[in-house]
């Protein structure tokens, strides 16, 4: 099965939508159809990968490590599923909550390009190619952020793009330095060569440099400032995509490059990362606690959740890695669902500030149930996705005897509960407050159709919780393949490791 379609389908769709730049109807339908095809293709790919092992494609038929290799392994397809499902949900949302201004600015084209960038990131097996997809993501998300062009959005957009360009700069430098030292960019080839020179301090430093670049993308302390200053500004559909997918790119790249290629680094680096991830969790959760804007709470909460994922990477055992993999998927679903919920509430009242919101439980009990389930999933109540991943993290912490991390995990879960229930209490329980003139503020009726995307992501999220038993095994299997690289390297370089290294070009 080919892998390139996963990138080409959305790009092709983007081209079509650009052809019909003035026709919103055609753009809408094209993007829905294209995303649906993409989702379908992803599921086929997943079946294939889990059935017959990971797939490799040599783009332009140039053998690795000369050309660029695309690989779809278990980790890739899991991420792809998350991406396409979130995209589908958001697409459905934006169909219902039509925003004419947004759509007339090329929204659909850019979203499709973003999807192509995300897909490329998750299937590429080449360091520089990864950088290119990062650029695609960066540019398209910047355009999405500032597309409506009001002051608040441009401000958020400028912060976002400046700080992320710094990440790109570091990534590019690091890629260049690594290429300068090891003479290759192919991840499989790199990991072989890194393994031969693993005691070289330069490699440790370059790995750290890459880590910083990914940490900025993933919004890890102290590199997270761009996230809370930009997530709450764009239209809800865009915010939901961001919340669901953007930080995952950083975490995924960390796993794929920092862990997969540069492993094992000296122990002090991992200790440092554990500390950083704990600080990230705490810092994010404290930030979320003081916010009064629905979406900003969610944005800060993303930071603390990223801390959990980082912790899983830093702990260096299979359970922790498996937890991080599932955590990314869980968080992608839950956070985008929560963002859409915030959009439904905010749009109806016309404000996202919690002192202006209220009365949504009486208005729509279904929305209340959806929000509460998502919130408890974020908190980690049993048989929701959050519980599965938190238990796995806790267990790996117990295995590593990281008592501080355990304590931090529990405290952060507790604080997560506090701020999520603050939203519940203010937005759903409290009566709709009077506006400045002392009149009952108007709120538009809710369209039931808007709940569909939330229901979709909720179902996927609950599946992670209910089938935690099965999925944790899948995730552990995936994690094992990340630490034990042989299968990947053999597949990509088409060599038998026992016969020694030889890559003198193709056998054509």
């Amino acid at each position: 099965m080919l892998i390139t379609p996963i990138i080409c389908i959305p790009l092709f769709g983007a081209a079509i939508t650009l052809l019909f730049y003035k026709d919103r109807e055609v753009q809408q339908w094209t993007s829905t159809v294209v995303i649906a095809i993409h989702t379908l293709y992803t599921f086929l790919l997943t079946l294939n990968v889990f059935g017959y092992g990971s797939l490799v494609e040599y783009v332009g038929n140039w053998d690795a490590p000369i050309g660029i290799t695309l690989i779809a392994d278990q980790l890739s397809v899991l991420m792809l599923i998350m991406t396409s499902v979130v995209m589908l949900a958001v697409n459905i949302y934006s169909r219902i909550a039509t925003d004419a201004k947004l759509e007339s600015q090329g929204y659909h084209s850019v979203v499709l390009i973003l999807l192509a960038g995300l897909s490329g990131t998750f299937v590429t097996g080449d360091l520089f190619n990864l950088y290119v997809w990062f650029e695609v993501i960066l540019m398209s998300s910047f355009v999405l952020l500032s597309i409506k062009g009001n002051k608040e959005q441009l401000e958020g957009g400028i912060k976002y793009v400046t700080l992320n360009l710094f990440a790109s700069l570091l990534f590019l430098c690091a890629a260049g330095l690594i290429y300068g030292l090891l003479g290759t960019l192919n991840l499989a080839d790199l990991s072989l060569k890194v393994a031969e020179n693993i005691s070289d301090p330069r490699i440790h430093t370059f790995a750290l440099m890459l880590w910083i670049a990914f940490a900025i993308k993933a919004a890890i302390f102290p590199f997270y400032s761009w996230l809370p200053s930009s997530y709450h500004t764009p239209p809800i559909a865009v915010g939901a995509i961001f919340a669901g997918l953007l930080t995952k790119v950083g975490i995924y790249s960390m796993i794929r490059v920092f862990i997969f290629v540069f492993n094992p680094l000296p122990a002090w680096i991992y200790t440092l990362l554990v500390i950083i991830s704990i600080i990230t969790m705490m810092s994010g959760v404290l930030g979320a606690y003081v916010q009064s804007d629905f979406r900003r709470i969610l944005a800060f909460s993303s930071v603390s959740q990223v801390g959990f994922m980082m912790l899983g990477i830093a702990l260096q055992n299979e359970w922790a890695m498996a937890a991080t993999i599932l955590f990314m998927i869980h968080h992608g679903f839950v956070k985008s669902g929560l963002f859409i919920t915030s959009g439904i509430c905010g749009k109806s009242v016309g404000s996202f500030y919690m002192n202006r919101l209220g009365g949504f439980l009486d208005k729509s009990p279904l929305l209340g149930i959806l929000f509460l389930t998502l919130a408890f999933s974020l908190i980690g109540v049993p048989f929701t996705s959050g519980f599965t991943v938190k238990i796995m993290l806790l267990k790996s912490c117990i295995m590593n005897k990281e008592w501080v991390a355990i304590f931090a995990l529990l405290v952060v879960s507790f604080m997560t509960m506090l701020y999520m229930l603050k939203i519940w209490s203010e937005v759903f329980w409290k009566k709709l407050p009077l506006d400045e003139d002392g009149k009952v503020s108007k709120s538009k009726p809710l369209e039931t159709g808007m709940f569909i995307p939330v229901v979709i992501v909720l179902i996927f999220s609950l599946m992670i919780g209910i089938f935690g038993n099965v999925l944790s095994e899948v995730a552990i299997d995936t994690a094992k393949k990340i630490y034990d690289r042989d299968e990947y390297i053999q597949k990509v370089l088409r060599l038998n490791l026992k016969e020694g290294l030889s890559y003198t070009g193709s056998e054509k």
């Binding site: 140039w62 600015q105 330095l177 090891l182 109540v381 209490s425 329980w429």
Partner: protein, 704 residues
């Protein structure tokens, strides 16, 4: 180590052997049914019915699950469910701020306990080698290892928060903002029992541990006394009932820590569950009918219906445990247990007697006192003189009246079950009779004292209306968290881009510079290649131009110096035989200078916003960052370990790729998909720019 810890959806994981012979399970289902019927009546003509009743049923199911759960994580699941549903139920009147705060307070405490319990259960599972309660109960562990103390502390924290034992009892009285069916069901019959029920489950494992025994005895004992005294000082019927509940739970906890006390604990849980929920429902009736649940106000009401007096009296008898009620047998079991526990230590009996008679006074004060006597009622009538009108009594649903009666009857009927198990040894030595006589004797004494001085007691209660303890426990902690949170957010997220960028750069410097410092012998070394003089000149030119661009006051000069930096770079590329690159660099730099110069016509005047110290600080940071990157770059020059990929690319360019320029072949063939990505970037940028420009031209200055 247990490999897969996640529970399954099968019979063994959910209950396994633990459902068999489990009286608690039937008890919970029975109380659930009663409560739902009562709630049906209580919320007649109220929109809350659709909110409360489903939650009550869900809560009942999770409580039933809790008492039969086998897998530790199923246990935790039901435990959390009870917390969550109780949060939602306490907030039944969620329009009121008080309700919202009280429910959050309850979850604040039980949620914290839940997390501690989760960790405790995980550690228990990992260290005992099994996640099944039925298996763990049969095992024996070396409890002297320090990990078991940790486990016990964690578990106990979860337990005492849930059961409202001291020092975490504060949420229970405040949870009384909930309607009567919720209070009766959750906060007397089931939820608060969850903690002590868990103690009985774990008793076989930990009973030989001094830490387990002593901490439970201490906390439970203190709670029992605290509750008994505090109840006496409450004028709110429901709060007083809540405190008596708290006291009784203390008593149950006192017995439940060892396997021998299991029977006592179970019989008390059943007996207390029946009579206490009945009392709550009775208070619910009073509250509905007379629109008050304040003892002082009720005493001034002129007419109390006969039905209420009868129910109150009979419930009082259920509570104090006259023969043929469930609590009679529960008490018998208790005395039996005490005899074994304290080895004929009669001081314990004296204490027990006093406690028991205090509780009797409490029940009297709640269930009988407000509805009897006429003197005060007449006084009240005369004081308000002619204006006195008899308040009309609200009618209530028949379902509300039925349930307290049903519960009282079942309290009698359940004795058939309880009495069968009595193996009382206390009666052999006559202690039981002594005990009973002493309790009633003391009660009579206290009764007269109370009747004489009840004004004093009530006045004292009024003063204690707002409690100090729970405020300290809850509100101040929340405020503290908030303060810390605001402080850290102001530091980390202050809203200025320049600040963020500085932070990013400094953090990068620290990490990379630290690494360089750490490995200084690798990084700080003499350059391998010789530096030629013309290279040096160009490099110096680049550096000077870079400085110029930052310090110059003219915008044009700044752009031109940036152009000079680019030109210098392209000359360097030429030296190193990269003419394509040099050409590209040359072109882009020229274009940038030209475009920038054109743009300047439309930009506002150049203004200087940063102070001199800011500039110096930024300059230093920038120089260090540049230095760090330079050291890294220097460390890889001439150090390439592998060159196969480049060599192969060069070799294949002409024969296989059929191109003559390797750079072009790389861009368009070897790494064509990179180029595809870059084209997408450009397209996106174009879309974005077009969109932004269109907004400007369409709308002019006005922005929403």
């Amino acid at each position: 180590m247990v490999q897969n810890i996640f529970p399954n959806f099968n019979y063994f994981d959910i209950t396994g052997p633990r459902i068999e012979n489990n009286p608690l399970f039937q008890f919970v289902l029975f109380i659930t049914a009663c409560t739902v019927i009562y709630g049906w009546g209580y919320f007649e003509n109220s929109s809350k019915r659709n909110y409360v009743l489903p939650l009550l049923i869900l809560f009942g199911l999770s409580m039933a699950g809790l008492v039969i759960a086998n897998h530790l994580l199923w246990l935790y699941f039901f435990w959390e469910c009870t917390s969550v549903f109780s949060y939602l139920l306490i907030g039944t009147y969620y329009e009121k701020k008080e309700s919202r705060e009280s429910s959050l307070q309850a979850l604040f405490i039980t949620g914290a306990g839940g997390l501690s319990l989760l960790l405790g259960l995980l550690l228990l599972g990992e260290h005992s080698g099994s996640y099944y309660l039925s298996e763990i109960q049969l095992q024996h562990f070396n409890l002297e290892e320090p990990i078991w103390s940790t486990i016990v502390v964690l578990l106990l924290f979860g337990i005492i928060t849930k059961s409202g034992l001291l020092p975490f009892q504060g949420w229970l009285p405040n949870a009384m903002v909930a309607p009567a069916p919720v209070s009766g069901f959750l906060h007397s019959a089931t939820l608060v029992k969850a903690g002590v029920i868990l103690i009985t489950f774990l008793a076989p494992v930990f009973q030989e541990m001094p830490l387990w025994e002593n901490s439970i005895l201490l906390l439970a004992g203190l709670t029992a006394w605290y509750g008994a005294f505090m109840a006496l000082l409450q004028n709110d019927l429901k709060k007083a009932l809540a405190y008596t509940t708290s006291a009784t739970i203390g008593l149950i906890g006192f017995a439940s820590w060892t396997e021998a006390g299991n029977l006592v604990a179970f019989s008390w849980i059943l007996a207390h569950g029946l009579y206490k929920s009945a009392s709550f429902y009775f208070v619910g009736i009073i509250e509905k009918k007379y629109e008050s649940r304040n003892i002082l106000k009720l005493r001034k009401l002129f007419s109390i219906e006969f039905f209420d007096k009868i129910i109150g009296f009979s419930l009082f008898f259920c509570c104090i445990g006259i023969p043929f009620t469930a609590s009679y047998y529960a008490k018998k079991h208790l005395v039996d247990f005490y005899l074994n526990l304290f080895q004929q230590n009669y001081y314990a009996f004296v204490l027990c007697t006093i406690w028991q008679s205090l509780m009797l006074i409490n029940y009297f004060r709640i269930l009988v006192f407000p509805y009897i006597g006429t003197r005060e009622r007449y006084q009240a009538m005369h004081e308000s003189a002619e204006g006195f009108q008899e308040k009309s009594v609200k009618t209530i649903s028949i379902w509300m009246k039925v349930i307290p009666v049903v519960l009282a009857i079942s309290s009698v009927l359940s004795t058939f079950k309880l009495s069968q198990r009595v193996t009382i040894h206390a009666s052999d030595v006559g202690i039981w009779e002594y005990f009973t006589v002493a309790v009633y004797g003391l009660f009579t004494l206290l009764f007269f004292m109370f009747y004489r001085y009840h004004h004093f007691v009530n006045a004292l209660g009024k003063k204690l209306y707002t409690e100090i303890l729970w405020k300290w426990c809850y509100k101040n902690k929340l405020r503290m968290i908030e303060k810390i949170a605001i402080m850290q957010t102001n530091i980390v997220q202050n809203g200025y881009l320049r600040y963020y960028l500085t932070m990013f750069v400094v953090a990068t410097i620290l990490l990379l510079g630290g690494s360089i410092y750490f490995y200084s012998e690798t990084f700080i070394r003499k350059p391998v290649t010789e530096i030629l003089i013309y290279e040096l000149i160009i490099v110096a030119m680049i550096i000077i131009a870079a400085f110029m661009s930052t310090i110059t006051r003219s915008r044009m000069a700044s752009i031109v110096s940036l152009g000079a930096v680019g030109m210098g770079c392209s000359v360097l590329y030429l030296f190193y035989s990269a003419p394509d690159l040099a050409m590209t660099q040359f072109l882009t730099d020229t274009l940038i200078v030209v475009v920038m110069a054109l743009l300047f016509y439309d930009l506002p005047r150049y203004s200087r916003l940063s102070s001199k110290t800011d500039k110096i600080r930024d300059g230093i940071i920038a120089c260090i960052f540049g230095g760090v990157i330079s050291i890294l770059v220097l460390s890889v020059t001439d150090a390439q370990i592998y060159t196969e990929v480049m060599d192969t690319m060069l070799k294949k360019t002409i024969p296989e790729a059929r191109g003559h320029n390797v750079v072009n072949v790389i861009l368009a063939d070897f790494r064509a998909i990179d180029t595809l990505g870059e084209i997408s970037v450009l397209t996106t940028a174009a879309i974005g720019m077009y969109g932004l420009l269109r907004i400007r031209t369409k709308k002019g200055g006005d922005e929403s």
